[in-house]
Symmetry: D2
Subunit: 138 residues, 4 copies
């Protein structure tokens, strides 16, 4: 489990009423929306506009795998933050490592991973991630 | 309030756990997803493929107004159906009239309206709805 | 249409990728989630904890009507803010008036209303809204 | 990868417009809503009412892990079905194995797992899953 101090970036959320279920806790699917939004903000922080890049370069990232481990419940109105870190990467894939904390608190509420593959959109095939791009992302 | 017998078409739903909130009832925003899905199925029933038509014709419908009146709560696992009827229409707009019932029950749980405007996508302007299209829709 | 300067309170959002549809604009149902979240934050600003109050007092507000008028599209990553104002109120109901703007811009993108009824939860009946509560809310 | 013929139960969905993103494919988080809904229907098929049981017995299942592998895109209006199978289980946990197919087609579009832990709600601790319950579920 990655300690809080090992994340270079955090993005805050306040849990919306629309996101909790009949047990008063965040419904399991919405964690992936938090992850997706937090990675988008991480990319903005690194100066990388993923949508613009895809249009210009003809290469895009596709999500191929998501993992969420729910360790402690998160409730309505909770002020949380999602830590984002670029994890391992191969020739054409990379892994985002994620964790959710209460704001300013070290206890890990959730951990997760999202795996992306770099795709040549014209050829519909996985492609090598350029070295400069990895440097910019991570 | 429109009686059940005045709707020509119904589409069934079973309420998903993901759709209820901390009070165990359907969260207010999801009613508009039920409405949107039910109108899509109504159009399929009338032989009208809205997405295909927009691509071919250069004209599309945009939603300009939604109204929901919540009359009785709807709960997790409830088997409901959404009645759909083409209501009034003007030169370039038309109104969908909607109501939600428990399956096979006359009590009105919800009523609503969704207003669409017919748009010339190239000119970015409202356009006259062709007579044949109105006939097909309703 | 209520001008920007007539709203006492605004709550900001950045549109999430999860909230846009195949046309790249916010899906119509999510506007009600923005409204719901913005009203919650308005209440926090006025020092009113709706969930706590319901538990303590035995009285709660139920949403009985929602209206959204979509005037201009809102896109992925847009920075918007939702203006909230307490509108008219009767013996047992009150109306939230809402509008969406781009941050720092006067153009009205969306207007809306959400109507609440004050309910005696034990008796399952509408109840008179106390004068002090109206003062606190508005 | 589990072949289609190894799933004892399938639940059908038609992809809603509300579920697709700006690329016209199902947004990654909604897969977990499909999984959750399909497992609920599997339990209904086995005669197990999870909500009733929790209220009566004081024991409940909590989701502790979700995994989704996105193998091929799923688009608006696609008619899909989610295969559900009870996988491995330990003293207090069990794993749902899931896969998504187009209706009547063998190609695996998505695979996934959802891990549940059986919880003694009064003691807030994991508990042994009774033998009869495992038999009923699987």
């Amino acid at each position: 489990m990655i300690p809080r101090t090992d994340f270079p970036f955090f993005f805050p959320f306040r849990v919306r009423y629309a996101e909790v279920d009949a047990q008063g806790v965040v419904f399991n699917a919405h964690y992936l929306t938090y992850f997706d939004t937090a990675v988008t903000e991480y990319l903005r922080w690194r100066g990388y506009n993923i949508w613009q890049q895809a249009a210009v370069s003809g290469f895009d990232f596709h999500t191929v795998k998501s993992v969420v481990e729910y360790r402690a419940p998160i409730q309505f109105d909770d002020e949380i933050e999602v830590g984002v870190r670029l994890g391992s990467h191969g020739r054409s894939s990379l892994t985002w490592e994620l964790a959710i904390f209460h704001q300013g608190d070290d206890k890990v509420l959730t951990t997760g991973e999202v795996v992306w593959v770099y795709v040549d959109m014209a050829a519909h095939k996985a492609a090598r991630i350029p070295e400069e791009l990895l440097t910019q992302l991570g």
